[in-house]
C-alpha cells in the first residue's frame, strides 16, 4: 500500500498529510494479520515464562532475529512436554499486532519439537544427568514388602489400568486394602500431579507399597513419566514404588528410578502381592514343620530320659513317678505310632504328652529324694565300675548340690 492509498486524517499547514498513531497502527495490523493468517515458524525458544494464569510467553529466535510469542492456556494445556529455553521447536499460529504496546506477536496454537530426534535427545540428556546423580543406583532402591496389606495406587480414576490392577489384587489377595490417589496421566501438568500424589502418600504414610502408572499409549501420552519432577518424587519416596507404565518394551525415565519395574499395570499387581494359594501352601508347610519340630523335641526328651533312667535306683515300685518311668516306653511307642500313621498330634495332645514327660524330668524326680550323680565334667554316672576311690563327684538334689568324694565302690 503506498502513501497515496492511506487514508489521511488531516493536513498540516504546509500541505503534508499525516495519520494518527492509532490509524497507522490499525492499518499495519490489518496488513500484517491478513498476510499471515496461519504460519509455521521454526526457531529456538528463549525467555520462556509460565504465567500463573496458565498462559505461556516466550520468544522464538534464530541467529539474526526474534519474534515474541504467546500461547494461551486453552492452547497450551494439551502440550505433553514442558518447553524450555534452548529447545528447537516448530510453532503454528497467526501473527497479531497489539496496538496498545505496538508490538507484533505470534499467537501460537500448536507447538512441537522440531524433530523426534530432539525429543530423543532431551530424553537421553535427562537420563544421563539423573543417572550420574545416582537416582538409578541399585543401592538406593527399597525392598518391597513381601506381604503388603495396604497398597496405594497413583493412576487415572477412569482408566483401564485401575480396573485391571484392582481385579488382579482382589483375586490374588482379597484381604488387601487398596487406596487410590487419582491423577491425570497424560498432558500438560500430569507430571506435576503424579509427583504430588506420590508425595501425598508419603505424607499420609499408611500404605506398604505404591503402584504408579497407566495403560499403554503413544509417546506423547506416556511423556509425563519421562519428566524430571516424577523421577525426583519417586526417588524421594520412602514407600517402595512399583512402576506400571504399559509400554511393555520401552523404558521411561521413571522405570529406572522405581524400586521395581513392571511392564504393565497388570504385571505390577501380580508382582505386588503373593498369590493366596501360594501363601496358604507356605503357611501349611510352616504348621507341619512346627508340629514336626515339637514332636522331634519330645522324642529327643524321651531318648534322654531313657538314658538317665538307668542312673536312678528302683526303690519304690508304688511311686507314681516310678510307674511313669516304666511307662516311658509306652509313651515313646504312642508317639511313634501317631507319626507312623501320618497323624498329626494336635496341640492338646502334644501339651498332654509333654506334661507327662515333664513329670519325668529331673526336677520332679529329684523332689522324691533321688539325687543325680555326675562326674566333675557333668557326665551322669551310670556305672560304678567307671569310678575311682577318691574321685570327686557332683550330687544334685532337688534343692542344692554337693561335691562328694567316692569312699568305697560296690560293683554289681
Amino acid at each position: 500500500m503506498s502513501q497515496s492509498q492511506l487514508e489521511f486524517d488531516d493536513m498540516l499547514q504546509d500541505g503534508t498529510s499525516y495519520v494518527t498513531v492509532s490509524r497507522l497502527t490499525r492499518d499495519i495490523k490489518a496488513l500484517l494479520e491478513s498476510a499471515f493468517p496461519g504460519v509455521c515458524v521454526q526457531g529456538e525458544i528463549s525467555n520462556f515464562t509460565h504465567h500463573s494464569s496458565g498462559h505461556i510467553y516466550f520468544s522464538l529466535k534464530d541467529e539474526r532475529a526474534q519474534i515474541p510469542c504467546v500461547m494461551w492456556r486453552s492452547n497450551n494445556q494439551h502440550l505433553f512436554f514442558a518447553p524450555t529455553d534452548g529447545m528447537k521447536v516448530q510453532a503454528r499460529g497467526r501473527l497479531s499486532l497489539y496496538e496498545k504496546r505496538g508490538v507484533y506477536q505470534l499467537d501460537v496454537w500448536q507447538l512441537q519439537h522440531a524433530g523426534l530426534g530432539d525429543l530423543q535427545l532431551a530424553f537421553e540428556r535427562l537420563k544421563k544427568r539423573l543417572h550420574d546423580e545416582g537416582l538409578f543406583a541399585a543401592e538406593v532402591k527399597h525392598d518391597l514388602p513381601v506381604y503388603p496389606e495396604r497398597i496405594g495406587l497413583v493412576t487415572s480414576a477412569s482408566g483401564a489400568a485401575l480396573h485391571d490392577i484392582v481385579n488382579i489384587l482382589h483375586r490374588r489377595a482379597p484381604n488387601v486394602n487398596i487406596i487410590l490417589n487419582p491423577v491425570r496421566v497424560q498432558g500438560r501438568g500430569a507430571a506435576n500431579e503424579i509427583a504430588a500424589a506420590i508425595d501425598e502418600f508419603n505424607e499420609f504414610g499408611d500404605v506398604d507399597v505404591l503402584i504408579v502408572g497407566r495403560g499403554g499409549g503413544s509417546l506423547e501420552d506416556l511423556w509425563p513419566f519421562n519428566e524430571e519432577v516424577v523421577a525426583r518424587a519417586v526417588f524421594r519416596s520412602s514407600i517402595p514404588i512399583i512402576s506400571a507404565v504399559g509400554h511393555e518394551v520401552d523404558f521411561s525415565i521413571y522405570d529406572f528410578v522405581a524400586d521395581l519395574r513392571a511392564p504393565t499395570p497388570s504385571a505390577a499387581a501380580e508382582l505386588a502381592v503373593p498369590g493366596r494359594s501360594e501363601l496358604k501352601g507356605q503357611l501349611g508347610y510352616l504348621r507341619e514343620a512346627l508340629i514336626g519340630g515339637m514332636q522331634g523335641r519330645l522324642r529327643q526328651q524321651i531318648d534322654q530320659l531313657r538314658v538317665l533312667r538307668q542312673s536312678y535306683a528302683f526303690g519304690r515300685p508304688k511311686d507314681r513317678v516310678h510307674q511313669l518311668w516304666q511307662r516311658l516306653d509306652e509313651l515313646q511307642r504312642s508317639l511313634r505310632q501317631s507319626l507312623r500313621h501320618g497323624l498329626e498330634l494336635d496341640s492338646e495332645q502334644l501339651t498332654g504328652l509333654s506334661q507327662r514327660l515333664s513329670l519325668l524330668a529331673h526336677e520332679n524326680v529329684l523332689k522324691r529324694g533321688y539325687s543325680l550323680c555326675s562326674t566333675s565334667d557333668g557326665v551322669p554316672v551310670m556305672n560304678s565300675n567307671l569310678l575311682e576311690v577318691g574321685q570327686p563327684v557332683n550330687l544334685r538334689f532337688h534343692i542344692g548340690s554337693a561335691v562328694a568324694k567316692v569312699q568305697k565302690i560296690h560293683n554289681s
Binding site: 496389606e149 484392582v166 487398596i178 487406596i179 487410590l180 503357611l283 512346627l290 519340630g293 515339637m294 522331634g296
Partner: protein, 72 residues
C-alpha cells in the same frame, strides 16, 4: 503391643520353626514356642481367609488426610 502385621507373624513363625528344629531348647521353652507358633499360624490363617479388602480414595483435607469409599 503394636498391631501385628501378617508379615511380622509369618516372619516370627519361621523363626520359631527354626528354633524348634534346632532342638537345643528346654522342653518348657519348646512348648512355649510351640504354643506361640500355633497361635501365629491361626492368626495368619484368619488373615488369609479374610476377603474384605476395600478400595478407597485418598482425600487431602487441608493438612489432614481422610479415606473415602471408592465406588467403581
Amino acid at each position: 503391643m503394636a498391631k501385628k502385621t501378617f508379615e511380622q507373624a509369618m516372619s516370627r513363625l519361621e523363626e520359631i520353626v527354626g528354633k524348634l528344629e534346632d532342638g537345643s531348647l528346654s522342653l518348657d521353652e519348646s512348648l512355649k514356642l510351640f504354643e506361640e507358633g500355633m497361635e501365629l499360624s491361626r492368626f495368619c490363617e484368619a488373615k488369609l481367609d479374610d476377603a474384605n479388602g476395600r478400595v478407597q480414595r485418598l482425600v487431602k483435607d487441608g493438612a489432614d488426610f481422610r479415606l473415602e469409599s471408592e465406588t467403581e
